[in-house]
Every structure is written in C-alpha cells, then in structure tokens.
C-alpha cells in the first residue's frame, strides 16, 4: 500500500481501478482542475493571443523606466527645435514629426517624444487599472460572499449599500475629491496622490458590480450539499466561507477581473481626459488623448496613438477574460 511516490518511469503494475494506470508512471496524481483549464485554454488561439499581449503589456509597464533609460527616451523633454512656430507650434515634417529619433512623432506646442510618453503612460494607466480592480474586487468579494452566505438582514443591508453606491454620482464625486485633495493628503503629493485618488475613486465605487456577481454565485453555492456536509461536521461560518466557498469563486473572480481591468483603463482615461486624474506634465494614456483633442482636426495621429494603445489593451484583456471563462467553465469540454 505504501508505494514510494517516486517518479519512476515504470508503469504501476496492476493498479486496480486506476484509469490512467498504463500511461501514468508509478505516481498517481490527480489531474487538477487548474491543469484541465490550462489544457483547454491552450487550445483557444484568441485567448492565447490576448494572454501574450497582456503579458507583454505588463512587462512594458513594469519595465517602463528602465526601457526609457536604455533607449534614452524622456517623456518630458521638449524638442522646440523640431516645431514650426509659423504653424502655431506644430511639428516640422510630416506625420506629426515622425523620424528615426521619434518613431511616433512629437507632440505639438511642446515637442515631447510620443513613444516615450506612450511607454511612460503605460505604467500609470495599468497601475491605476490594476489597483482599482484589486480594491473593488476585494471589497466586492468579501461583501458579496458574506451577503450571499448569511442572507437575511445582513444580505438586505449589504444589497441596499450596493444599490446606493451604484446610484452615486461618481464623476461629481471624483471632480470634487480631486479638487479638495489638490494640495496633498495622507502624506502624499503630486503623482502618487493622483494615482491613489484615481485608484480609490474607481475602485471604491465599482465594488458593487463584483459584489453582485459574487453574491449571486454564493447564493447558489451555499445550497450545494458540500456546504451542508461541512456544516454537518461542525465547520464554522468563516471556515465555510474561505475553505469551501471561496475556492469555487476563484474562477468567476478571475474572469471578471480580467474583464474589469480594461473598463478601469477606460475609466482612468476618461477621468484624466476630464482633467481630474493624472495631471500634466505626467504622461498617461487618458492625458495624451486630452492633449490631442485640440489637434485632432489638424492631425488625427495624436488621438489615434494613445487610442490604439487603449484599444489593444482593452481587446487583449477581453480576449483573455473570455478565454478564461470558457476554460474554467466546468460544463465545457
């Protein structure tokens, strides 16, 4: 009975009732659900593409500063010599001043390198989107699972709070809070403060979406007999929540998170576009679009470049999220 679990290449002799005995070596290991999901995921071309793009984007964002240093890119250095004062500060040359030195051109008036700004903007945009997603999904998961499992008045109170949050005029709040905190708060100033405010505003007011999803899932999970089984063994509420229910919610949470990140990227862009997010001169994708809006009639490329970056990011995350949902769905095969 105590076969040593060594990975011998010899097949297990006569393992009764072991389905994969012939193919599996001596060690008998369950094919975990994660492994099965990965097998399915690998077959999904669109999802794999999305996943690769997401990984590249994250690498770009994390390595933004080193990349800028290595390639000598600086998002905030003006190149006024490349601007044409006769045209009101538009870049010299065609296509927004594209050249070998500035592959994506330079921006009007200030002449800053757009590639550098795009790379610099990536970490700001992704950090805000990730931060806000983590915040809203943590809040949503905890409150949703508690509401769904305990039900009764706990559920009623949490559900009403969710409704209230969803009815909240988010934009007004964002504008007023960033105006109030202009001078600094919690020991934060400048960029860190702006990022923190964005994460808070986006994350704190979006948790009810996650909360509703998790609550719904929990409502159906808690009627599953394994929850009764845990209770019949004397398991306490928190243990049931974290050991029995939460592992079954990881899939939906993961899927919804990958779908929420692009929404939050758009949110960051919108808020920065409205001037209440990241402040100049710091580059962010939303901010770049804000800068471009005055010139879109002269040269659309200023709008297209950050727009395309946002579009590709959103698309990649959505493809990844859809693929994850299919891969983790126990009904699909």
């Amino acid at each position: 009975m105590t076969t040593p679990p060594i990975a011998t290449t010899a097949p297990a002799p006569g393992e009764p009732g072991t389905t994969g005995a012939a193919s599996a070596p001596g060690r008998i290991e369950g094919r975990s659900l994660g492994r099965i999901a990965w097998t399915r995921f690998k077959r999904d071309k669109a999802a794999m593409t999305g996943g690769v793009v997401v990984i590249l984007l994250v690498l770009l964002a994390v390595l933004a500063k080193p990349i800028e240093a290595v390639f000598g890119l600086d998002p905030n250095v003006p190149h006024s010599d490349l601007l044409d004062p006769n045209l009101g500060g538009l870049p010299l040359g065609s296509f927004g001043g594209m050249s070998l030195d500035h592959p994506l051109g330079i921006d009007p008036l200030q002449g800053r390198d757009l590639l550098a700004r795009l790379i610099e903007g990536s970490w700001v945009s992704l950090l805000v989107a990730f931060g806000a997603t983590v915040l809203s999904n943590t809040l949503g998961t905890v409150l949703g699972v508690v509401a769904g499992y305990y039900g009764g008045w706990v559920d009623t109170v949490i559900s009403r709070v969710m409704d209230t949050f969803l009815a909240f005029p988010l934009l007004l709040f964002a504008i007023s809070i960033s105006a109030t905190l202009q001078g600094g708060a919690f020991g934060l100033h400048g960029l860190p403060l702006h990022i923190a405010v964005l994460i808070f505003v986006i994350g704190f007011f979006n948790w009810p979406y996650m909360g509703r999803i998790v609550r719904g899932q929990t409502l159906s999970l808690r009627e599953r007999e394994f929850v009764f089984a845990a209770r019949s063994l004397g398991a306490r509420g928190p243990l049931i929540l974290f050991k029995e229910l939460l592992p079954n919610l990881v899939g939906p949470i993961l899927v919804y998170s990958t779908l929420l990140i692009p929404t939050n990227i758009l949110f960051e862009a919108a808020l920065s576009f409205l001037g209440v997010g990241i402040q100049a001169p710091q580059a962010s994708w939303g901010g770049m679009m804000n800068d471009a809006i005055t010139y879109y009639q002269v040269d659309t490329s200023y709008l297209v470049i950050p727009g395309l970056a946002i579009f590709l990011t959103v698309l990649a995350f959505n493809l990844l999220g859809d693929g994850l949902r299919d891969a983790l769905d126990p009904r699909s095969n």
């Binding site: 008998i28 369950g30 659900l33 007999e225 394994f226 398991a235 990881v250």
Partner: protein, 366 residues
C-alpha cells in the same frame, strides 16, 4: 466492535419501538418545518408557508434501520436536515440519546456532530469540486480535532479502503470519479468520526440501477461491521426493502404509515403504501412469489396514482391523500386521520385501512 452492539433485529420482539429496555437513539416528536413565503415589495411580509414537514413523530433504535419513503417533494430531505440539525425546526422536538437537541446552538451541537452524520442525495454536489479526496475525507478529523493513530492520511486511506475505493486515489479530485465512487467517498467521510447514527438522504437515487445495489450493500455491510444505526431515505420502496427493519411512508409532510418491514410489504394498510407497492418493480424473481401473495391493491393489479401531488403550500383538508385516494369518503375531507396503532408493529393514518382481517373494519368502496 460489532459484538458489543445488540443484534440489528431482535426476532423475539417484532417491533423494537415498544421494547421498554431499548431507549431510542433518535426520537422525533411532532416535528414541523414551514418555509415562509415572502411577498414582493420592500417589506417582504410573510404571505404563506411551504409546509414541508408538518408534524411527524418516529423513533429509531440503536442498531436499527428505519427506511423513509415518499414521492419527490414530500419533505424527506427537509426531515433529514432537521434531525441532523442542519436546519431549525419550526416546531416539535428532536431527541438524540435522550437529550433534547431541537434548539441547540452551533457550538453546543459541535461535539454531537461526531455521533450523527449524513450521506447526501447528490454525489455531484456533495463533494467540493475544488478539494482532493484526501481533503474531503480528512476534513472530519481536522474540523473535530480528532487525533488519528497513524496520521490523517493513513486514516483517510483506511476509510477509502473500507468503502471499497483505491486508497492510492487520495490525491484525486471528485470529477475523476464515477457517481457510485463519489457516493462511496461521501460515505467514507460520514464514517470518519465513527458515528452512532447515519442519515442517508436518497443515497442511491442519483446512481445507475446497476450501481445502486452495490452502494446499498456497502451500507448494509458497514452497519453489520460497525454497529451503525441508519435512517435511510428513498423515493421508492424497492430501495429500502433490502436494508430496512422498519419503514415509514411519507406523504406531503406527514407520515402516513410506519410498520415493520415484512408487515409493510406484505400487508400495507394505507392506500398510498399500497399504490407505491404496486409500482415497485420486482428485481428478484425469488421474491416475486411473496409479492403476488401480497396482492397489492384489492385485485392484486397495478394501481396507477392519478392526479398531481397537491401543493404543500395549501394541502387538502382532512386526509392529505384524499385527492388521489380511490377509497375516499366524506369523513376523509372533514377529519384528519391520526397515526394510530393498527396491529403490533404497524401504525397507520387512514380512516379506512387496507388488508384488514376483521370484517367490521372493512368498508366497501363505492
């Protein structure tokens, strides 16, 4: 272990419930569970109730198996959850080993959980898909902080072996097993703490017919080996026939008949039992003889129940079975028949019981 336990069925006393020496292990009195129906609107006021369990009484004695049979929706699972205290009764009492556990809190219930365990109806939902078999069957030891002689892993493997599973499958996930194997895993989990009593809620109804017998036999063997007491729920009489000492028949939240196994199958007294019996397929040709002799239904033919089961929200007045009963009279709508002793070892709730020897009790059907 087995020899300290009294024999499962004491043959000299045909009905265990009237043996004064044997205190019941589980005693249920007037048990009620109504699920409130909330209306719409903000206040969600109670507008009615699903009377899932509506006043049932029975007792289970040590070493005995009580089968509980009834159609889908008659409140069997609810009853199972009430006696295992997974649900709070609306009324009545549940006593375990003479102790009233009806309203014990979760903390007070915890030590008792070792003694009374439950095997669930759906093997696909009773095992957490995200846990390995080792985690699932080992959970009782961890939750109840029970020390094991050679470690939890060894204890789990012993349990798997006891239930006819490969102990090496410790690391596998539930989805890698068939329904029958999953049910065995569920049984192994229920046995981990060496309970005195096991409530099995339709342990085989989700399984293929060919597998059903294997699982029922496993339960039977385990009872003999470990001296267990069973409350086995089923939706047809054929499943529990083999394993039960006594059988209770439920209809719409009520027990309509309780009797010793042989009495119930040979001389069913309640028309509903008769109807259920006539629907029982005869799997074993050797038993066919007895069955024909029993002559379910007056003519010995098959009785087909017509009409739907009435709603447990608004059950019929008087006898709940009267809307489908071919013997119903006026009194059946006016007076609720009480569960009364008909003959030794047989209680029935019917104004005009079947298979009566004395002619004055026999009422001719119109």
């Amino acid at each position: 272990m087995t020899d300290t336990q009294p024999a499962a069925v004491p043959s000299p006393t045909p009905s265990p419930e009237r043996d004064p020496q044997r205190a019941p292990l589980l005693k249920v009195t007037d048990l009620v569970r109504h699920f409130p129906i909330k209306g719409g609107g903000v206040l969600r006021r109670k507008v009615g109730a699903v009377r899932a369990v509506d006043g049932i009484s029975f007792a289970v004695h040590p070493g005995e198996t009580l089968g509980v049979v009834g159609e889908s929706g008659c409140g069997k699972s609810t009853m199972g959850r009430l006696v295992t205290r997974l649900d709070e009764p609306t009324g009545g009492t549940v006593e375990f080993e003479g102790r009233d556990i009806t309203h014990l809190g979760a903390a007070a219930m915890r030590p008792l959980r070792r003694d009374i365990q439950i095997v669930f109806q759906d093997p696909y939902s009773s095992l957490n898909p995200r846990h390995t078999v080792g985690t699932i069957v080992g959970a009782p030891f961890k939750l109840q902080k029970v020390a094991t002689e050679h470690g939890v892993k060894r204890a789990v493997q012993d349990l798997l072996e006891l239930c006819g599973l490969n102990p090496e499958h410790y690391n596998r996930y539930p989805h890698e097993f068939s329904g029958g194997q999953r049910q065995r895993i569920g049984i192994a989990r229920a046995l981990a703490l060496k309970p005195k009593m096991i409530v099995a809620d339709e342990p085989v109804s989700a399984l293929d017919v060919s597998i059903q017998a294997q699982v029922v036999n496993l339960l039977d063997d385990l009872q003999r080996e470990l001296g267990l007491t069973y409350l086995i729920i089923a939706h047809d009489l054929s499943v529990v026939r083999h394993v039960s000492d006594r059988v209770a028949v439920m209809y719409l939240g009520k027990i309509v008949e309780v009797a010793d196994r042989d009495t119930l199958y040979s001389r069913p007294a309640h028309p509903y039992t008769t109807a259920l019996l006539s629907a029982v397929p005869v799997p074993d040709p050797r038993r066919k003889e007895r069955r024909v002799g029993a002559a379910p239904g007056e003519g010995g033919g098959r009785i087909l129940l017509t009409g739907d089961v009435p709603s447990p929200i608004n059950p019929p007045s008087g006898c709940r079975f009267r809307t489908r009963c071919w013997k119903a009279q006026e009194i059946c709508a006016e007076q609720e028949p009480l569960l009364e002793l008909l003959s030794p070892g047989q209680q029935v709730a019917c104004h005009f019981p079947e298979n009566q020897q004395s002619p004055e009790n026999q009422v001719t059907t119109p």
